[in-house]
Symmetry: C2
Subunit: 424 residues, 2 copies
């Protein structure tokens, strides 16, 4: 997975010295967060320090950083990876249809907007996130294949939502796969994320029930001395080759164009979600050299085995003294490269997960793989098909759950996510 994960960390430290003078010393904890925010801003989201009228002291830093709910795209796609995440699928309740779904998305959008802005808790609030700032909270909503038949909207269902093909390495638990509706919650504070999860579950009321729910995590802002590409639980630097928002073809690869089809998906994206268990006991029994051959990169630096640093292009033709390819033919980094897959590209923005140990001491841990693309048939599917056939990494992972969801563009002020679909 070293090349199938998100790099949303900034290329450079863009926090300005001026930034710090605006903050109390105790409030500087989020300088990293603010710096990270610059990437989101470049892709259409503003992440700014807030000074909520409800807060008697200036909230700054990690807590104060916030993403915007309204915009061209939904938040949580190009927003920098957050330290804590919840993925949830809901199924509409028996008897709930298009009307109830529209009302639910309206409630959900209002809640997401309020919580992401760090507004003061309402009188009915659980108070779990009281005192904390929004902490870069994002909430993202999507629609699954089954949603459209449940709501009489099959004519609006995008072909891109057709079920993913079966893969040889799949061991999918249907109860933890797919679903009518999908919600992604991310924040840099665990209580802020949990608070949002419960608020959205409460909003669902009698209209929808939780189908499955998963918790994940990433590095905390500030855990490394400077922003770096993430590592996964196999210890690999993971996300080096992710498309960057600054690249000219980024939008085309990740987002449905404004003139795209169906019209309600303008500026939207398709997300593939996979619970990928890592067989860590097996993996950790391998020597470091063997692990590096599986991936095709140095574990310590992420550099290709053919030399250079993390961002150096691998020399895929290079051979060693014996005439063997230095980057093995089945190395993950070779097989997952866009230029080996007809230019397929996706934005990988995962969370790690760890749900304790099985009875025999095996960790139930791995990657909540979340990847974004304008078209799954040109993003996830061709890459996964190729990985499925020959990836050396496949013997150390197991895909245990899968979801595919249509994530509409961002809501405009006064509107809600999915309004064009549900009122179209």
């Amino acid at each position: 997975m070293a090349d199938t994960q998100s790099r949303t960390a900034p290329e450079t430290d863009s926090a300005t010295p001026g930034g710090i003078t605006r903050r109390r010393l105790i409030g500087t904890a989020g300088a990293t967060g603010v710096a990270l925010g610059a990437v989101g801003a470049g892709a259409g989201y503003a992440v700014a320090s807030s000074n909520s009228p409800e807060q008697s002291t200036a909230l700054a830093s990690l807590g104060a950083d916030k993403a915007m709910f309204h915009g061209k795209h939904q938040p949580g796609i190009t927003t920098p990876m957050q330290a804590r995440g919840h993925l949830v699928a809901f199924d509409l309740a028996a008897g709930a249809g298009r009307k109830e779904a529209a009302a639910l998305l309206r409630r959900w959008s209002a809640t997401a907007e309020r919580l992401m802005a760090g507004e003061a808790p309402t009188s009915e609030d659980t108070d779990v996130a009281r005192d904390a700032g929004p902490s870069s909270l994002t909430v993202t909503f999507g629609f699954g294949h089954s949603f459209f038949s449940r709501t009489g909207l099959t004519k609006q269902r995008p072909a891109a939502l057709d079920p993913l093909p079966d893969f040889f390495s799949d061991h999918l638990d249907k109860a933890r796969s797919n679903g009518d509706l999908w919600v992604q919650i991310g924040a840099n504070d665990s209580l802020v994320a949990f608070h949002a999860l419960r608020a959205l579950q409460k909003d669902a009321g009698g209209a929808a029930k939780v189908r499955w729910q998963m918790n994940g995590f990433n590095r905390s802002p500030g855990a490394t001395a400077q922003p770096m590409t993430a590592r996964n639980l196999m210890g690999q630097i993971d996300g080096t080759n992710n498309p960057k928002p600054a690249e000219s073809d980024f939008d085309k690869r990740i987002f449905v164009p404004a003139s795209g089809s169906p019209a309600w998906m303008a500026n939207g994206s398709y997300v593939v979600v996979r619970r990928i268990r890592m067989l860590l006991d097996d993996w950790e029994k391998q020597s470091k050299a063997a692990q590096e051959d599986v991936i095709g990169r140095k574990k310590s630096t992420g550099a290709p085995l053919t030399g250079g640093d993390e961002t150096t292009e691998p020399d895929l033709e290079k051979t060693d003294a014996n005439g063997d390819l230095v980057v093995p033919i089945n190395a993950h980094a070779r097989i997952s490269r866009p230029d080996q897959n007809g230019g397929a590209a996706m934005l990988r923005r995962p969370f790690s997960f760890h749900d304790g140990f099985d009875a025999d001491g095996t960790p139930d841990a791995g990657l909540l793989f979340v990847c974004w693309q304008a078209d799954p048939l040109r993003g996830f599917v061709p890459v996964q098909r190729k990985l499925d056939r020959g990836d050396a990494l496949s013997q150390f992972i197991r895909h245990e759950a899968s979801g595919l969801f249509a994530v509409p563009g961002g809501a405009q002020k006064g509107g809600y996510v999915g309004q064009e679909l549900l009122e179209g």
Copy 2:
């Protein structure tokens, strides 16, 4: 639980303006962490910024903050609460006795010392925490009642480890309770914590197997504009009345004296661990006023219902216009007060937990209650007995697992935790 949790946040912001000049801007993310560290230092632990020779740029901030492994007491007791935690119990393997246990504690201590110091990964390391600083990592080791018979050390077993009495409200899962050995891991970064967990599990090798393992979390440093008492998943400010390291009787209440018995527990402490499920669906159906009557405090501020602010003493005799007590007779804050329990006091230093949802959408969430005292019979037991009989909160919580462990004093350089027991 509002008064049965940890307050390890500092009273004041002790970060100095001078501190920040030593840090790169991007490295100021941990000003809060450094401030928090001052509390640990006051209680015998130093938390300092590091500049590991293995790090090419100065690590500072959240990542660089570190607690000391060696000292009078073990770390993770008075260390400020961390954003991520793992609790693990191990049982010795069949055939493993005192000798194997001594070797294991020696391995574990060496690993804990190395990881807490932020030393460079060894060549066998998984690399999961590479690039990150120690992020205030702490590792704490304890011995359960069953350890002593397994190792032929029953004569060394403290009476304080006698099994806790049964409580009416217990619904304990024995498979997730007690155990021969207990390890607590805390860090402000989830990957750093997971890395330590796996390293310690690997150290266990054939000598001990995981019995149970639980994950928890607390607020991220910097999520609030200034350090504040924690909130739990019921939304209560939780830990206001915790003993403070600066108080003259703190050590006496929390730690076994240097001259205490048995001698190997000098400067140690006893920890009670409870997995307390919160019945959040029931709780959140209550009005805010009803919730406040259950606790006896205002939810928003933590102030007693009799007025003032969070730290104001409640007026327990005060009545309203109808002659009813303002702080109800069964309010949690009244029943759990030390002066209502013969001066019983414990240092509560918990993690919240959330392990997803049950099939019906009920959250499997609550508190990993971790409390420290010099003697459980004068700390946890009398308070819990009183709560068990009349606490209004008890109908909203369920104790699902329980552990009691003897946590020896800290290791000296060259030694290991439990050495006086295992080589005594």
